[in-house]
Each structure stands twice: as C-alpha cells, then as structure tokens.
Symmetry: C2
Subunit: 185 residues, 2 copies
C-alpha cells in the first residue's frame, strides 16, 4: 500500500495470569516505542473464554514503518509468567525468536532454547509487591532485546505508574535490567 | 472458518486526548464484555505520529461469536471527547451508527445526528477530577447502547479502579447513566 513497509516489525507477546499486569505492560511497551522512541506500535488484547479463567495476554507490534497487520503472526519474543501461558504460546515463537519464562512459575519447558529469569521472585524481593512482576518483566524484555531504549521504557512506566509507586516501579525495572546483565556475564 | 460467525459484532471507538484515560476505558469495556458478560472482545490501540501529539484512541470489538478481524472497519459507536477526535473519526461512523461527543469540547459537528453530552463537565461536577471523564464516558456508552450490562461495566470498573478511587468511579459511572436517562425523557 505504501512505500514504507513493516518488514522491520517485531512481534511481542506478554502472557501470564490475571493480576500480573500483563495488559498494562503491553500498553507501556507500546507507549515507550511510539511516544518516546518515535516508532509505530499497535497493542492488542483478545479476550475469549480463557479470560474468564484468569489468563491474561497482551500483544505488541513495533515497527519503524507503518504496521499493516495488527496481530501477532509468529512471535519474535514471548515472555510467559505462567505455565499455562508457556504451554499455550511457546509453539508460536519463531525458531530464532526469544522465549523468556518466569523460572519459578514455569516448570515444564518446551524443547527449544529458553531464557529463565525469576521474574516474580525478583519483584517480591525488590519491592515486596507481586504486582510489580510486570515492570520487572519489561526490564528483562528491554534489557535483552533493546526493542525500545531504556530511557523510553522508564519514561513510559513513570507516565503510567500510580502516584506514589514511581520509586517502587523504578526499582522493579532496574531489577529486570540487572537480571539480564547477570545472565550475560 | 467456523460455524459461529461474528456477524453480531459491534465496533466501538473511544477517542480523546492523552490523559483522558480512553485506553483504560477501552480495556475496561472489553473486560466487562468478556469477563463479566461472557462475550468475546478484542481491544486495540494503534500508536502513530498522533500519539506524540497527545491524541489517544482505543478500539473495542465485541461479539457473541468469534472475532475474526480485530480492527474497526466502520464504527457502530464513536465517543469523541475532543475536537480532533471528532474531526478524525466521525466520517468512519456507520450511517446508522452512534456519534457521541463531549458537548463542551467539540464545537464543530459533522452533518449527521450527534448525541451531545457534557462528559468532562459531568466528571468535574461529580468527582472534582477531570480524569474520571473516561468513567463517565463508559456510563454514557453503556446507558445508551446496552452493549454490556450495567452490572458488568460496574464490576469491570471496580476491578481496575486504583485503591481508594472506587467510590469516585462509581459516582462517575452513575453520572453517565443519569445523563442518558435525562436525554431520553
């Protein structure tokens, strides 16, 4: 349709249980890309019967050019914070894509490379609040992929953090970054 | 693809400025439909250059059957809380669709039936907080269309309301319902 295509598109799926804040994480990631990093982004949630069971999933597509198709076709990155999320979506990750799981929540792993990070434990240890797992997850995702800049994700998180939770969220993000730096050394 | 089609689909667009909480309103509406009213829902945000200008837009598709196509094709309902939102999206409302605008924010109206409600003013008068305009808007939308039940939208709002804001949000929702009841008499 246009000269600018979305061949540079990155498809990210964030999945977990209700209450882990994956939908908010998806919105924050899309806003980091679009508002602070000057890219285009589309962010989608589909709610079917699994929503009643408490599963929660957000999809984000980020591209420099226009985004023609708003759905994940095959994920470049999946971050799964629950066993159900890993079971359901791991097969849809590209062969050379990244599968990141919460190592304390996901025991049965698929037969492919997996990056295991104790996301929920880091959240609890760092802030005392399980709900900050989504911010830790964003730190892990951005630390590993660089899909948006660290400044952009921090600004986007701060813009969405409820009043009084800014410092807690900053620490949770930092814990995600640090976990990846440790993995790399 | 399946026997169940999405011919019963309703396409809703919520548009305004950043800070009016339209994205959260979209999420809450989708959750009301899917989690509390047992329907299917897809909720999408696209962020392009306009996001940098502060415009904010959420799309929600609700259906009893499966939803094949996650994007709004022609809106059954548009609620526009800013002039820019009305200018940009009014032409995409179906001829027999509903166009709802904030009467204090949108002065130039398109040549078609328009439902004018003082959404921002109701929010300020009821709760003292401009940010509750999104909850008032949900009350207006649900009061007018019945696309989800009143119980479902109330439960979905309560589930997403930050601690301590539940009563304020309940009042804002009620103000939206009441505004529509007044229109109808």
């Amino acid at each position: 349709m246009t000269a600018k295509t979305d061949t540079d598109r990155t498809e990210i799926r964030l999945a977990g249980e209700g209450g882990q804040g994956m939908i908010l994480a998806g919105i924050v990631l899309a806003e980091a890309a679009a508002i602070y990093d000057n890219k285009n982004a589309v962010q989608t949630q589909s709610y079917g019967p699994e929503a009643r069971g408490g599963a929660s999933k957000a999809e984000v597509i980020i591209a420099n050019g226009e985004i023609d198709h708003p759905e994940v076709i095959a994920a470049d990155v999946l971050i799964a914070l629950s066993q159900e999320a890993c079971d359901k979506y791991a097969a849809n990750v590209k062969p050379d894509g990244l599968l990141i799981v919460d190592e304390d929540q996901v025991e049965r792993l698929p037969n492919r490379p997996v990056i295991r990070v104790p996301v929920s434990k880091l959240a609890l240890d760092t802030t005392g609040k399980a709900i900050t797992a989504n911010t830790v997850a964003l730190g892990v995702l951005v630390g590993l992929t660089g899909i948006v800049s660290r400044q952009a994700i921090e600004k986007a998180i701060m813009a969405r953090a409820p009043k009084g939770t800014e410092e807690m969220n900053r620490k949770a993000l930092e814990a995600g970054f640090t976990a990846i730096e440790r993995l790399a050394h």
